[in-house]
Symmetry: C2
Subunit: 290 residues, 2 copies
């Protein structure tokens, strides 16, 4: 335990959570631009949606979701009151009427239903942030209300630095965990700890691209050879990375610059009539080097 | 609207949220390793904590938090039942007793209190993910239960690709928004939209390092010159980035490789007795180029 660990955490943050909505019902009040975004996020979490919004104010995308998702129950009207909250597990509102927004929030608090009222922070039990979705991977970036635009810029930056096949790698690790749990069943305790440790070693010893290349056969092989002996073998040759092709951008740039330097140098000398042949020069430099 | 937008989102995800706990009370049951992590996250979100756990099983870090944070109310005993849930807004349990874990979860559901039971997914209203905290910036990485270890590896990767002064930049943008709201008050509507647009342009036109360099004086200046005319001026000279020093790694590598190439090329020629002077050659190449 370092001194750093012993510091009390700085306040002012939120508790970031991955809320589970599978089979739950979410009430969305309002059908505009913001609502269409909410519908998208909620559908991605496998929830059922009750949508209450007058048809004439529907955003094109909202209408599209209503027409195409069987998980949405749509009511062409405004919020009616208490009775609209029966059987509801979460409420998201995005309407322009501040008065009604606050009234819906008060009802939700009374019924202990988590609620988010767009644009009125004190009426929110939770905020949304910028989100990245790549298969089983989800990332949320929150600036705690300081700069939504900056969160969006950071989102782009983070997307760019994610390994290309990260989603495939995560899926495969999930499948491998499932197979391991079948092979060595039991909840918690010693066996749970051993499983966790072994999986962790696989994830550390194998490159992400190697994990992404796992198929059913190589998983069975890994479990057979690795788990039984409680060791983690190297990836089989056929899914091992070709490390040479994995040259970093900086290395590549150095090499390119290097050869351009040689080429230009000889070209200039040649131009000055000092030495006869461009290619002979490159050849001589290379021979002297290797 | 592109075709891509029209696709229904793929299911299987969670709804990522930034839960607000300021002034709320969180019950944590259990005092081990996992609990100490939970305490840390919950304190960072400004919550009050009721901690129920026998003293002899306390993790060193948990004990440290109990001794040093005024926000923790500690009870040296096991969970007693219903009465422990009075006035509680969220429950996190991390105990080895699976039976008791499930019983606590059932009570929470009865009282509609959000609950997370460590290691028993069906007893969780929400999961935690790997988290990054950098001042006002919070990032959560969730693999939706597929690979916690991979989430941790990605966390390190994302941390490395975050701009150095991102926290300072976000803080400053938050302060600037506050100042703007004072200068042009009003909730929602036209003024809200205009404020949002102007702030968004500032964040897009200025480099992150420039935002991080904002001080009180330059903010007032920016508001005076920019907001009044609804334009976003360039950053004042004194906080403008020295773009030359901002050369990317790849560019730098190319330049270095280039000069090494020239140097080696002439050195080899010189060594072959073909041309007299190393430095004269470099000079000639440079003169021919610029």
């Amino acid at each position: 335990m370092t001194d750093f660990d012993l510091e009390l955490p700085t306040g002012g943050g939120s508790l970031l959570l991955a809320w589970q909505l599978k089979g739950k019902r979410v009430l969305i009040v309002g059908g505009g631009d913001v609502s269409s975004g909410r519908i998208k996020s909620v559908l991605a979490a496998d929830a059922f949606i009750t949508l209450i919004a007058p048809r004439d104010g529907l955003h094109r995308l909202t209408r599209h979701y209503i027409d195409n998702s069987a998980r949405i129950t749509y009511h062409d009207r405004t919020f009616a009151g208490d009775e609209d909250l029966v059987g509801i597990d979460m409420v998201l509102t995005a309407i322009d009427d501040v008065e009604w927004s606050r009234r819906i929030c008060a009802l939700c608090r009374e019924h202990r239903i988590p609620v988010n009222v767009a644009d009125i922070p004190p009426s929110c039990d939770f905020y949304f942030g910028s989100q990245i979705r790549k298969g089983p991977l989800q990332i949320m970036i929150s600036t705690n209300g300081n700069g939504p635009k900056l969160a969006n810029l950071l989102k782009t930056r983070i997307e760019q630095c994610l390994p290309e096949k990260v989603d495939r790698a995560i899926e495969n690790v999930g499948i491998l965990r499932g197979k391991l749990r079948q092979r060595a069943p039991g909840v918690g305790g010693e066996i749970g700890k051993r499983r966790m440790q072994w999986m962790s070693t696989v994830c550390t010893n194998w490159e992400l691209d190697e994990l992404a290349a796992l198929d059913d056969e190589s998983m069975e092989e890994l479990l057979l050879v690795g788990w039984e002996r409680l060791s983690v073998p190297k990836p089989p040759r056929r899914i091992q990375l070709n490390k040479a092709s994995n040259m970093s951008d900086a290395t590549l740039a150095t090499v390119v610059g290097f050869f351009v330097g040689i080429a230009l140098s000889t070209a200039v000398l040649w131009n000055q009539g000092i030495y006869g042949n461009f290619f002979t020069n490159i050849f001589m430099v290379l021979r002297a080097l290797f």
